[in-house]
Symmetry: C2
Subunit: 592 residues, 2 copies
């Protein structure tokens, strides 16, 4: 075999006159009057190679039988192109390689789609032929970026004394959280391992173990019904530290994230990141992962609405609900139909209707205007900062529904109006999440994050007064409307842990039943600790400017949790099941 | 909380006079005439802190209640120790810290074992309290070494353009190989994922996908009955390249391994590594993973034995078996009983007896001596390089049994005689493995490595003549008697693959049934490729000088595939099983 000397995409004018050996795939091939021009592609890029019977008759004859995606080895001389044939779109566009020797390393069938960017093709085909899909530059570049991002995470953490430690994949089913993937044990019939939803327990145990700084780029598993942005197995950058407080950790993590963005896509992110409380995020943006690239903040009108003539507003306000609105700047000229078209969208988030006011020619217009007094309208206009050409959209409901409806309308209208700049990266820490929320079904408080999340010191007295008021030392990192990371400081003092379990309605005995070995561990000198996990797939998606998590994963699964390439899951032999002491027990179709 | 300013183990004389804040665990505590001396430990090491009522009465009173493994934060001043109290065994032995303020961050129960190296304690206890075990310096150091080794692997490969790419954990059950761990699919009732035994198929698909250089520190799974040096989940450094030949790959891998050894334990390994063919390894050392730190090579005496008077030797030699021997230097003085004690060991490897000759006072002695002629004895002495004080041990059997018996005797005696230097690292590549071996049960050839292993070009004609003669482009890296890595160049030409399947007794249709999507992929322009995988757990074990794979893994499983810390596997709820459409089907105890 001809031994490669150069990469296709890296040959420059400096190589002119040199003999090079290239290996790669045929991107395309043209015959111009008996001279063959082939674009040869390898991982580094493309170079034009030329076969002319005058250079070498045999090589030309062989090249004549070559088709797209054939794998070639060629030896030739780098020459300058004629000025009129220079290709400014190609890194190597100023040169070409005159081939004197060719070896066809392998032929190729015609692929089911072209190996090029921006193809419009059913994703199922791309996934089935993933090995061809990965040859496309946009996929290759995403994988290269992913590899580079992982390297930067590791380098940064390594420099700061974090140890990379692997935690088990075959572990124990957890009583709380999402649905586990199970693995039957052959050695212990009737027993099962579970795949970890996260290394949470192990990373806390590592802190008890004196590791002080741990990280892992860890595979995690959740057997949930998949949405577009979920995968049954996903990757997180998992981090835990001892003897640091929340501010110290967040500061270090900002530095980390900034380095990842700088060194992958060359974007400088300003520090410190904005910090916004959970209350403020929900209040202003209707979301705990606000997209901060544009305004259109939610404005609270509950006090104003409490006594107004719009009955539904007044009634909601008086019953402890909220009345809020957003100002869709420039939509004051929308037709009634255009506004009504928003209703089905709003209903998806729980809206029962969608009240609105347009400002046109200095006047407030719309069906509900007549129920307001002049003074109320003036106050409304001021508060909403409403001008000619604006559209005010209202929501009156529970706090949660108002946030969902207006939060999502804000995003939709922001996108539709082009208010969102794809080249801007707006990070924020959302902090002060509530520690507990009251579960109406279970009639008890449940942990918002998990039962080991540390409350803020100054809120501990609320355990006895009103647990719903306790703020947690928990934080999410949000970027452009996505949650890209989250974590918390953990409880390390027994008396706080006891208060927490009591608030959750567990006796210490019940708590031991559920979390036995972790609570045991905590008895032997647990340091103050806390951590964070970044969603690596999603971060790569945002770095690469892709719209789909699957594009960031070499071999992803479909929304149906299927691997179309290797056809998994699949049936297995009876012998395998018997060895595992299990049997398939299909439910009748009706109960599915 | 007092904010840490320094790490315990890193305070030096240069810090004298400084105020420092330390966080850590109480290693031990002594009260000398009312002055308390505490060894405070964190990840970096130990420093002595001193509480004297004269420095601070309150701090002294608090410290008086402190016990081993309490977690402390202290503020104090670094002072030089009196010359007579300097501790030369401690990095920080020249200084101590006079404490002015102390905070007990957490108390601790008395741990079930001391936090110190070299403890003699049931491993089950260490595994159950792994979080305490990890605090012991030898465990912490092993995890630090593991983290560092991973970093060096990654840095080296990254520098050479390898992309780190994650492959699926939830994948398809493979028809060949070891037993799979299975994962029932909830979405596809009656179907199962399998956990990967290695990323083999995916890394080859990545080469088809044009990645050219791939690596991953990958978790792999095998549901085998465990031996001391096996874990159900283990880690390999998985590597695959395109457009390189075997020599180029092995050279690069040598450089990689040398760097790992240099930068972790400061050992310089000589390059190039010795290369030894499979035939030679079996012939000289009775093993395809020879320990090359000492000689005692196997000597072939089959020709000599064929006509000798020892009937069993002559008969074996005439029937195509082998007669070989090793020379245990210096064991010529062993008693009959000492020699006989080797028999049960030899029998474990298939020996039916153990013939021997001792050389004493210039004379050959032993029960079989009389069956040899003077000339034969002289020839034997020459070939065995036998001198006074030597013991020659014979094996006469099939090639395989002879290799097993003498290979293992060689190792045992080498160890017993102290011939093996623990500080020497003898690497070798074992190359030219046979491509195929004949399976007497299945009455067909089976692949020694896997069905995609590339044969040596010059052996391809043997497909038609004698497939057993074909040598593979397959290689193992051995170190001190352990296989620490292995791989092969892969078949990429269809006509060779067809010959291979034919030799294995498959039609192309049967082959497609078994390996469908990979063969499909190979049709679309597959580059020449090959790869290797290093056993990361084992490499770390050898680097750390540990005897047990479990000591290299933060949370390992027992030989019984159990996690004693979190009690996995365990029973799960009926609801979970129902959702997965499976049922436990315990076999009656008798059939277990």
């Amino acid at each position: 075999m001809l031994e490669r000397t150069h990469q296709c995409g890296k040959i420059t004018k400096a190589d002119i006159g040199q003999t090079v050996v290239l290996n790669g795939w045929v991107q395309r091939r043209r015959d111009l009057g008996g001279v063959l021009f082939i674009d040869l592609r390898d991982r580094s890029g493309i170079v034009q190679i030329v076969f002319n019977p005058e250079f070498n008759e045999e090589a030309h004859a062989i090249a004549d039988r070559v088709r797209n995606e054939y794998v070639l080895a060629v030896r030739g001389t780098v020459v300058e192109r004629d000025p009129e044939t220079v290709n400014p779109n190609l890194e190597t566009g100023e040169i070409e390689v005159r081939v004197e020797e060719i070896e066809v390393l392998n032929p190729a069938k015609t692929p089911p789609f072209f190996i090029e960017d921006g193809i419009e093709i059913d994703e199922a085909i791309r996934l089935k032929y993933r090995y061809l899909d990965l040859r496309r530059p946009e996929m290759l570049n995403t994988l290269m970026l992913r590899s580079k991002a992982a390297k930067i995470f590791r380098d940064f953490l390594d420099e700061r004394g974090f140890l990379e430690i692997e935690t088990p994949i075959l572990t124990k089913s957890t009583p709380e959280g999402a649905r586990d993937y199970l693995v039957p044990s052959r050695v212990h019939p009737g027993e099962f391992f579970a795949l970890p939803q996260s290394p949470q327990i192990f990373k806390q145990l590592l802190m008890v173990g004196g590791i002080e700084r741990y990280y892992q780029i860890a595979r995690c598993f959740r057997d949930e019904d998949l949405r577009a942005d979920r995968q049954p197995e996903f990757t997180q950058v998992d981090i835990e530290v001892s003897f640091m407080n929340q501010d110290q950790l967040l500061e270090m993590m900002e530095e980390l994230i900034c380095r990842v963005f700088r060194e992958t896509i060359g974007v400088e992110i300003e520090r410190p990141f904005q910090r916004i409380t959970y209350e403020e995020a929900i209040g202003k943006y209707g979301s705990d992962k606000p997209d901060l690239r544009f305004g259109m903040e939610l404005v609270d009108l509950t006090d104003l609405a409490a006594n107004c003539g719009v009955k539904v507003f007044a009634s909601v306000a008086q019953k402890g609900g909220q009345v809020k609105a957003i100002n869709a700047k420039g939509c004051g000229t929308w037709s009634r139909k255009e506004i009504d078209d928003l209703l089905p969208f709003a209903e998806r988030y729980g809206a029962k209707g969608l009240a609105w006011i347009q400002v046109k020619d200095g006047e407030m217009r719309g069906p509900i205007v007549k129920f307001f007094t002049e003074e109320e309208l003036a106050e409304l206009k001021t508060r909403m900062n409403a001008e000619d050409g604006d559209l005010i959209l209202f929501s009156a409901d529970t706090k949660k529904v108002v946030a969902d409806v207006l939060g999502n309308l804000r995003l939709k209208i922001g996108r539709d109006l082009g208010l969102i700049d794809d080249n801007v990266y707006k990070f924020a820490w959302v902090v002060d999440f509530p520690l507990l929320s009251y579960d109406e079904e279970e009639k008890r408080y449940v942990a918002e994050h998990h039962p080991f999340t540390r409350p803020r010191d100054e809120d501990i007295h609320y355990f006895d007064e009103d647990p719903s008021k306790i703020r947690a030392q928990a934080y999410d990192l949000v970027l452009n409307g996505y949650e890209v990371g989250g974590g918390s400081m953990r409880i390390y003092k027994r008396e706080i842990q006891e208060k927490m379990f009591k608030a959750l309605g567990f006796t210490m005995e019940e708590a031991y039943d559920k979390f036995g070995f972790l609570l045991d561990a905590f008895e032997y000198g647990t340091p103050p600790h806390g951590g964070i996990a970044f969603g690596f797939d999603r971060l790569v998606m945002l770095l690469a400017g892709r719209k789909n998590l699957r594009d960031t994963i070499a071999f992803p699964k479909t929304a149906n949790a299927t691997d179309l390439l290797c056809d998994a899951p699949s049936e297995v032999s009876d012998k395998q099941l018997e060895e595992l002491s299990i049997r398939v027990a299909l439910r009748p179709p009706a109960s599915k």
